[in-house]
């Protein structure tokens, strides 16, 4: 009798324990459901002809009309194609150079003069806290026809007519935008690596030094390999987030001359929805954005598997 009862209480206790554990996670599951899955419900708008303030009704169901309208004429295909190209190229450049913050952190770590290092770190971190709107006004005052750059160049006698930097057109826009992004983010992104570097076992360096390794060799054989796991985690996060952070920068920098090369998906969605209240079309396009995200994520995962033999999803 007694042992059975004990067993029962034990089982109950175990059960209760697992319920308790579940309760611990439940809030987070709910949060994810509410904020990450429930919004997917909004995708239904892509299949309706929705126009506020008219209430949503089944009468307005239009099926795949909006998806079809994206590709109904050559001009539109060309436009969407260009937008996708811009998105991929700019993502590509950005991801392809995502090792820059790591390198920056490594070299900064090698600076022996501590006050100088602190100054460099502060100066490079600060731009991250400036909003894109302000970045554009800085850009405008530096690069307009009577701005600092043009005044400097004409005073030096290099140019006689002002160069209109902001009216730039052509694929160079991609590079310029990447430079702005890097200027703003480099210092901030390197913080994670600086933290990781301080976590590397100092004995490794001591041993290497005893073995006669140079500073370059220590970087190459110790620091960088120790940073790689961090790098790959951050790379994955970047891939997942890239398409979400893109818009503000391009929104403030866009003008009639660079629009063709600056319009990424997010911006295109914004321009379409805000310009015309075409919510349904915007939803349809933003679903494309999710497709791009998945492609990028799977791509990165495959690459990681190929190179390092381990995947992160």
């Amino acid at each position: 009798m007694k042992p059975a009862a004990t067993q029962k209480t034990l089982r109950n206790k175990k059960k209760w324990d697992s319920v308790k554990l579940f309760l611990y996670v439940l809030p987070f599951i709910l949060l994810v459901l509410v904020f990450s899955y429930y919004p997917l419900y909004g995708w239904v708008y892509a299949f309706f002809d929705y126009k506020p303030p008219r209430p949503f009704s089944w009468d307005d169901f239009v099926g795949l009309k909006w998806f079809a309208s994206l590709v109904e004429s050559d001009i539109k295909i060309q436009q969407i194609g260009q937008v996708l190209l811009n998105t991929f190229v700019m993502s590509g450049i950005s991801l392809g150079t995502s090792w820059l913050p790591m390198l920056f952190a490594v070299f900064m770590n090698e600076l022996r003069c501590v006050p100088f290092r602190k100054v460099v770190q502060t100066v490079t971190t600060l731009p991250n806290f400036i909003s894109w709107v302000l970045v554009y006004s800085i850009a405008f005052s530096m690069f307009n026809s009577t701005g600092m750059m043009n005044t400097l160049l004409s005073n030096m006698g290099v140019i006689s007519e002002p160069i209109l930097f902001l009216n730039q057109s052509g694929p160079g826009v991609w590079l310029t935008q990447w430079l702005w992004l890097t200027w703003k983010n480099l210092g901030w992104s390197s913080i994670m690596y600086i933290a990781a570097i301080s976590g590397i076992d100092a004995e490794l360096y001591e041993a290497a030094r005893v073995d006669g390794a140079t500073r370059m060799k220590m970087i190459w054989y110790i620091t960088i390999p120790c940073l790689l796991p961090t790098f790959f985690v951050l790379l994955m996060l970047n891939i997942a987030n890239f398409l979400n952070n893109g818009m503000e920068q391009y929104y403030v920098f866009q003008n009639s001359f660079n629009k063709q090369y600056i319009q990424v998906l997010d911006l295109y969605v914004f321009n379409t929805a805000m310009g015309a209240g075409s919510y349904s079309v915007s939803v349809a396009i933003s679903m494309l954005k999710s497709v791009v995200s998945v492609v990028l994520l799977v791509g990165a995962n495959t690459v990681s598997k190929l190179i390092r033999g381990e995947s992160f999803i």
């Binding site: 611990y24 709910l30 509410v34 929705y50 004429s73 436009q79 009639s256 075409s278």
Partner: protein
């Protein structure tokens, strides 16, 4: 240990509860939405049941009532305070709580949430097309039973009835909307001293380059070139340009070119141009005003007259650092003058003045007799008592007394009454927009501008004639003010051109066509058209800027040809056809009103 477990469990419970709370928010929202619908149904039933207005209804003012007013024109959110707040409290025992989508940060989502909840506000001020949608969705109340019961709105019955008949939604014979900015001067009257868009230049510089007589826009450009050569910088040494523009107001075409199109007798509306001959042509017509405006700007840029930053600077930059610093020599909007023209600049002959160019013929709308494109309505969820109070308030706003407060402000403080019954601005009145004027405690205290009518929209516009004075309500149009504002500049101008003001000059030389300002409720675009409009608009604006800054004539022509080809691929023809049909009734009404 146990305490710890209890603590962690209760924390978990709290978090669960909180996240549930997060979910239940939607439930509350949807239940209010249902509540709103029931309320609106009830509202319809009661309004339908009441009898048509006979005699002024009894309205008790014993109880203070607060109106929530959803106002697309307001630049202020919150309770109306100060002198105007006091007037409303004293006259009608009314308080206003203004909801301003423009201030809220995200106008679109505010509109959507409030419409989804079924209650936009007690009083609603919307653009015509939105009002159509809202009446259609049952958000607006029929006020036909009481609207003409109080006596003052009756004066505008023709315009109000015509507008409501034109809406084609809601009950037959129902009154849902009252147009904004109507007047009592007749459909083709124009009381202003300036037209909306015309070339205006600094008077001293114009005289400085020999005050040339100009026959064509090429003469105008040459004159501007002389001006730039003779006066290359402002007094601080900053470079000046004849023309400086800004892209942030662009919509379906570039805003600045739209204004210049009016010089060629064309007014852009969406994808079409209305002409002074009352015809409709596509915006991209080779002979149309928009193309001519682009030609003008392209030529100007070839001559080095256009500020190279025009396509990248925003309005604030151009206004603060250029217009207010006399670094721009050609103005076209009539209100742009306000950034430079002052009595002291007038005395030193520096004010911007209109200069005639013989070949131009301006498109000008008369004052908005029929209303200006926005409307007032009453929310469908107010009860009968509140409905009466609201209509009474709207009627007061349209009464001579209410209008004097709205347009002329406070007697004895802002203006005084002359012996002949007309009004003169006091010193406070003259400075009311430019300085911080403190209002005496007896009138409500605070600063004048803080206490000014924050609704920022009027049922009857300031151009309307005040029956008490025989002059418009607008203080700037009083004979006393016009006399007060005469300066060396205006005197010289009058002497040179032999007319009282630019409008009189244009009328005398047959340079302007005054078209009736028709206010017909036009439907908002369906989603297909809206998409085509947005995509075509982006393309037109972008290409227009590229054209203005094109390297040479060949590149310019090529861009125009490419634009037309690309537009075809986006459905431009469909849009032009849609807009032609949409605006045909307006043109027809104009022709009818001119007969």
């Amino acid at each position: 240990m146990k305490a710890k477990r209890v603590l962690s469990l209760s924390l978990a419970a709290i978090m669960v509860a909180m996240s549930m709370l997060g979910c239940s928010q939607t439930d509350t929202a949807s239940s209010t939405a249902e509540g709103g619908e029931t309320a609106s149904a009830a509202g319809d039933a009661t309004s339908g049941g009441e009898e048509g207005g006979s005699g002024t209804p009894e309205v008790s003012h014993d109880e203070e009532v607060t109106f929530e007013i959803y106002d697309v024109a307001a630049n202020f959110q919150g309770e109306q305070v100060g002198w105007f707040g006091k007037v409303l409290k004293d006259e009608l025992n009314v308080k206003l709580n203004i909801i301003a989508p423009q201030v809220s940060g995200d106008a679109n989502s505010l509109y959507q949430t409030r419409t989804a909840s079924g209650n936009l506000g007690d009083i609603v001020i919307l653009d015509n097309a939105d009002m159509l949608d809202c009446v259609d969705s049952g958000l607006i109340m029929n006020i036909a039973d009481v609207v003409y019961s109080f006596g003052n709105l009756n004066e505008y019955q023709e315009q109000i009835d015509q507008f409501n008949q034109g809406m084609g939604v809601g009950d037959e014979g129902g009154i849902y909307a009252i147009p904004c900015n109507m007047n009592n001067n007749g459909p083709t009257a124009f009381v202003g001293e300036t037209v909306a868009s015309a070339p205006r230049v600094p008077w001293d510089y114009y005289v400085g380059v020999g005050a040339p007589e100009m026959k064509t826009t090429d003469d105008l450009l040459n004159m501007l070139k002389d001006m730039m050569e003779k006066y290359p910088t402002n007094s601080n040494g900053d470079p000046a340009y004849a023309i400086s523009m800004w892209p942030d107001w662009d919509g379906e075409s570039i805003a600045n070119a739209n204004l210049i199109a009016q010089w060629y007798g064309c007014m852009p509306y969406g994808a079409i141009l209305q002409t002074t001959e009352n015809t409709i042509i596509p915006l991209t017509d080779d002979e149309g005003g928009y193309k001519k405006a682009l030609d003008f700007l392209f030529k100007a840029n070839q001559m080095g007259l256009v500020d190279p930053d025009s396509a990248t600077q925003d309005w604030t930059t151009v206004c603060e650092t250029k217009m207010k610093q006399k670094r721009v020599y050609l103005f076209w909007y009539n209100w742009q003058n306000g950034f430079w023209n002052t009595p002291s600049h007038g005395e030193s002959r520096e004010n911007y003045m209109y200069v005639p160019v013989e070949e131009l013929h301006y498109y000008q709308q008369s004052d908005s007799y029929y209303g200006d494109g926005r409307v007032w309505g009453v929310g469908s969820s107010v009860d009968d008592n509140k409905k009466l109070r609201i209509v009474e308030f709207l009627d007061w706003l349209a009464s001579p007394e209410g209008l004097q407060y709205q347009h002329s402000s406070l007697e004895g403080f802002i203006y005084t009454v002359n012996d002949d019954g007309t009004y003169t601005l006091t010193q406070e009145g003259q400075d009311r927009f430019t300085a911080s004027i403190e209002v005496p405690e007896e009138y409500g205290g605070g600063y004048w501008s803080d206490g000014n009518d924050q609704i920022n929209q009027w049922i009857v516009g300031s151009a309307a004639k005040n029956p008490l004075t025989g002059e418009p309500y607008d203080p700037s149009l009083w004979a006393s003010t016009i006399e007060m504002n005469k300066t060396a500049t205006t005197n010289e101008w009058i002497e040179m051109f032999g007319a009282e003001n630019e409008v009189k000059y244009m009328e005398a030389h047959d340079e302007v066509t005054m078209l009736p300002n028709i206010n017909i409720p036009l439907p908002s675009d369906d989603t297909d058209i809206a998409l085509i409009r947005s995509q075509c608009g982006d393309l037109i604006s972008d290409t227009s800027w590229k054209m203005v800054f094109a390297a040479d004539q060949a590149a310019y022509d090529q861009l125009w040809t490419d634009l037309k080809t690309q537009l075809e691929g986006l459905g431009w023809d469909q849009l032009v056809e849609y807009d032609t049909e949409k605006y045909q009734p307006v043109v027809d009404a104009k022709i009818a009103a001119m007969e």
